[in-house]
Subunit: 216 residues, 2 copies
């Protein structure tokens, strides 16, 4: 079980606190807005109404042994920066900040933030990928060159086996699992005699170059 | 090549427009804020300064054959709702709205939005998972029961083969790929005699139940 601090209860911060509690960890939430703290206090281990830029107050509640501090304090660079400096002087080892743009992220990294999260940008990239690849259900980049995608099984595969379709030879990608969309059941690493059925999706791993060229 | 419209140039909208253009599609961006439109106009196929709640103006620039319209208009429910109703009366088939909370999403779905995206919530869940599983590099849920994770290879695996480690038997998960962290090179579906090296990560597929119980 770990101990985290969330400073700033923007949507991201609220959800991070709730999810960490759901996963069995303890979370202290801090925000200067009484309404937001009250709304979440039954879900968090501890909750405090305070101005995080006030070093004296912050050091009363945050000690250097916390596993990480997550900031979601909005667009005010000064508030984010001062809070980061306070946390560094307290001795916090991991400071994760949700930022909207590179300028913000660069500056906060320069003063000591360890992780910057650009969730709108990441969400936008995921959406753009899904709009780009119509039968794409999920798209997971693994490295600049490789990715995993989940695609609806094309109609012309139905009733054919992996061996007949020669997917690895023809398309250079590997089918690592097939999912029945209705039951959510999985068939991991299907063999050569595996036959595709209706209403299923295939999880494929391969080079981005080859996946982009898939056309069934 | 597809044609998309992005209404509202919040961070999410801006990045969606840019990413879709990068993927080779055409994007029309609409926002009532002149500064935001000017900042992006060289990157978008077309850009217009307009109030999207004005049906007459909107129908001049958006026709029903667009592949999808993406809304990122901020927290004003009325603006999002009126724009959605305008798009529906124009005949747009796919309306994707970035929303911050369920109430917003429910209401907009009730009046006809086809997709709601909660990017802060999704980002928060991903962060919480990474904080929960320390050697977790990536976590991809495939269904309520199955997921793919990318984990750093534990020290005690180094120098041993897949066969010696009996990973599928012991841990009930399948190693579908091993990535060299320094070179980003991949070894897909490693065989029984594959030997783990330093500085690598393994991509594993299995039931969430079993992955949560992994302890090396
Ligand atoms: N100095 C401060 N001390 C404590 N809390 C602060 C301070 N400054 C800002 N906050 C809090 O940070 C929160 C920022 O929320 P806001 O909704 O502006 O974030 P956001 O950037 O829109 O995030 P999201 O996109 O995740 O919703 C507010 O609840 C605000 O009260
Ligand atoms: N009626 C309208 N017509 C056109 N544009 C609008 C209208 N109402 C709002 N907008 C635009 O929508 C945009 C919303 O941006 P804002 O930064 O508030 O979004 P956000 O919810 O914080 O998104 P993100 O978290 O992705 O940054 C603004 O650029 C604003 O000008």
């Amino acid at each position: 079980m770990k101990y985290f601090v969330v400073i700033g209860l923007g949507t991201f911060g609220q959800n991070t606190a709730i999810e960490l509690e759901n996963l069995g960890h303890q979370v202290l939430v801090i925000d200067q807005d009484e309404k937001r703290v009250t709304a979440i206090k039954d879900l968090a281990t501890e909750s405090i109404i305070a101005d995080a830029t006030d070093k004296k107050v912050l050091s009363e509640f945050v000690n250097k042994n916390v596993d990480a501090v997550i900031l979601n304090m909005g667009d005010n660079l000064e508030a984010n920066a001062l809070t980061t400096l306070n946390l560094i002087s307290i001795g916090v080892k991991r400071i994760i900040i949700k930022a909207k743009n590179d300028a913000f992220g660069k500056i906060l990294t320069a003063i000591g933030a360890t992780d910057i999260i650009y969730s709108e940008r990441e969400g936008a990239k995921r959406l753009a990928q899904k709009l780009h690849t119509p039968n794409l259900i999920e798209h997971i980049p693994l490295s600049p060159e490789y990715e995993i995608v989940e695609l609806a099984v094309p109609d012309k595969f139905i009733g054919k086996t992996l061996d007949e379709l020669k997917i690895r030879n023809k398309y250079k990608v590997v089918v690592i699992a097939v999912k029945d969309i209705l039951s959510n059941e999985f068939h991991l690493i299907p063999g050569a005699d595996f036959e595709f059925c209706q209403n299923s999706a295939m999880i494929i791993i391969g080079k981005t170059f080859d996946i982009d060229r898939l056309s069934f």
